[in-house]
Amino acid sequence: MTTPLELLSVEHLLSEEERDLRDAVAHFVDDRVRPSVADWYEDGLSSSAVRELALEAGKLGLLGMHLTGYGCAGTNAVSYGLACMELEAGDSGVRSLVSVQGSLAMFAIWKFGSEEQKQQWLPGMAAGELIGCFGLTEPDFGSNPAGMRTCARRDGDDWVLDGTKMWITNGSVADVAVVWARCADDGAVRGFLVPAGTPGFTAPKIGKKLSLRASVTSELVLEGVRLPSSAVLPEVSSLRGPLSCLNEARFGIVFGALGAARDCLAAALSYVQTREVFDKPLASFQLTQAKLADMALELQKGYLLALHLGRLKDDGTLTPQQVSLGKLNNVREALAIARECRTILGANGITLEYPVLRHANNLESVLTYEGTSEVHQLVIGQALTGQSAFS
């Protein structure tokens, strides 16, 4: 017997270092995530658990792993993707924590921040001692961030921010929020570093979630938040800023979603061997095997796609359209696999004793954030036809 990813002998496509880094993350997930993830999911991940997890992840080197300097490990893009895959095999919420910290919050500071801002925040964030969040989405503007209403107005040397951000991962836990706002004087979109505890800034938790429960999601409320001029990210003044951060995180999701799918398929493969129906193992029925074969096939296609995109990224030639292609396919297929595995596990599949419905529910969020499937279809459609169909 072979595992779904061994079917195609893809292991040799990775360097020894890439395999070692991946295995270290797999070990981390076995050690720190799997034993508790069902409880985190049932009870909702607490803020203290996020802090603990961030410290552990920082110790390993996961946070901002593909960035260089400031205490970051400086791995290649493929290794970052593989890490996301292993983390998401644990839980999409845990992968989200690492994505948001490294690819959204840290990346924004690393790419667009001043040297002082980098020195102030990045080493602590890489170590997991400081947590960051990334506020772009608003209650009324998700897929169309250009419509954002959060506004930054000059007052002497200071900036004053007003507005609301919505669905912000790690918002209530964060020590620093990267908040994107439209500036009243020139209409440009700029990023601001808002430390937790700044007067006028609150971050209430969003409850009653049915997806990504092992992750903290929050609202960011900014009411006359006064910031010094040193709080603005100096190197970008357009939507290109937040969108290039999203492109980084999205790349991780191309791999990450496959991790969730692989974990579901592993659970289903083990279940069919021991579960007997009509006096025979479930594995011995043709309908079961057809499901398993199709799922293994999609998993491997997705993996080859992810790896190809990773190699392009390491060559410096990856385009946003290609990332859209990867995210669209891999999240969509991962969700289909998770749901199909759920059918195989029958009633057991709906419990937290098994990972399948947890992953499927998580992937609903993953399908929506970092650009919805529809938005990625529109990106690819525009690349194919030259016509924008966004509005």
Binding site: E17, L21, A24, L60, G61
Partner: protein, 260 residues
């Protein structure tokens, strides 16, 4: 301070264990890894450095090609360099020959203050090599150490057994084997994994060590494996049903097995 940690490459204990025709471990087709018990020795060496002493840690292994995997893990954890003793004539060496070769390697490394080892290998499990190396080197040996303090000139070691603990001091240089109670080995960080690639690994043959190849290997072994048999399959246990007399029944069962 120069510390040598002995690391052994062993077959993954979770895989099926098989033997070749000459009753030596079949390494082909089985993933090898750093003997888990040696990780405690590496960790203890790293802790000496963490405590502020300027240390150079050299991971030393003897084994066939592939044994680099064991030193790789030690380097990823933080050892500075590694030595791999590999020679075709080493195949089938017993503990005495192993100790002789490793002692010669420690001598060749030179100016070693402390040799740290695990308390046994997870495959052979004999626990005798550290003491034999100490004997070859003419150094003090403290075995099965549960707590270790290293100064510039001596080690202070606590050894625990069921009845009592004793604290022993030995002058450096010394050979110390540590138990799995002494620390919790760190898991290599990304930086450690990436740095390990650039660390020097030397490969030495018996000729490099000046050890006579006739003194080692299967033919020279004083300890010979005549036969290997698989442990019998576990038989189903007996179930004691508690009908109010569960305690008595358990006691009777244990008494019948002469366990109490």
């Amino acid at each position: 301070m120069k510390i040598v940690t002995l690391v052994k490459h062993v077959p993954d204990a979770t895989a099926d264990r098989t033997f070749t025709a000459d009753n030596t471990t079949d390494r082909a087709g089985v993933d090898g890894l750093l003997s888990e018990l040696d990780e405690y020795a590496v960790e203890e060496a790293l802790k000496v450095g963490d405590a502020g002493t300027d240390v150079e840690i050299i991971a030393l292994t003897m084994g066939p090609g592939g044994a680099e995997a064991a030193v790789k893990k030690a380097l990823q954890m933080g050892a500075d360099s590694a030595v791999h003793v590999v020679d075709d004539s080493l195949h089938g060496s017993d503990a005495l020959a192993t100790a002789q070769v490793l002692a010669a390697a420690v001598t060749k490394i030179g100016d070693v203050d402390l040799v740290l080892t695990g308390m046994a290998s997870t495959d052979g499990g004999m626990s005798v090599v550290p003491a034999m190396i100490a004997e070859y080197l003419g150094l003090a040996h403290v075995g099965f150490v549960g707590e270790l303090t290293v100064s510039d000139t001596a080690v202070t070691a606590r050894r625990d057994d069921d009845a009592a603990s004793e604290t022993i001091e030995a002058a450096l240089p010394a050979v110390v084997s540590v138990t799995d109670q002494i620390n919790e080995p760190r898991y290599p960080s990304f930086k450690g994994i990436m740095a390990a690639k650039k660390k020097p690994v030397e490969t030495w043959t018996l000729a490099d060590l000046g050890v006579d190849s006739g003194a080692v290997g299967l033919d020279a072994a004083l300890c010979v494996v005549r036969e290997v048999t698989k442990r019998p399959e576990r038989s189903a246990g007996s179930v004691v049903t508690d009908e109010g007399d569960g305690g008595t029944k358990l006691a009777e069962f244990l008494a019948a097995q002469k366990l109490i």
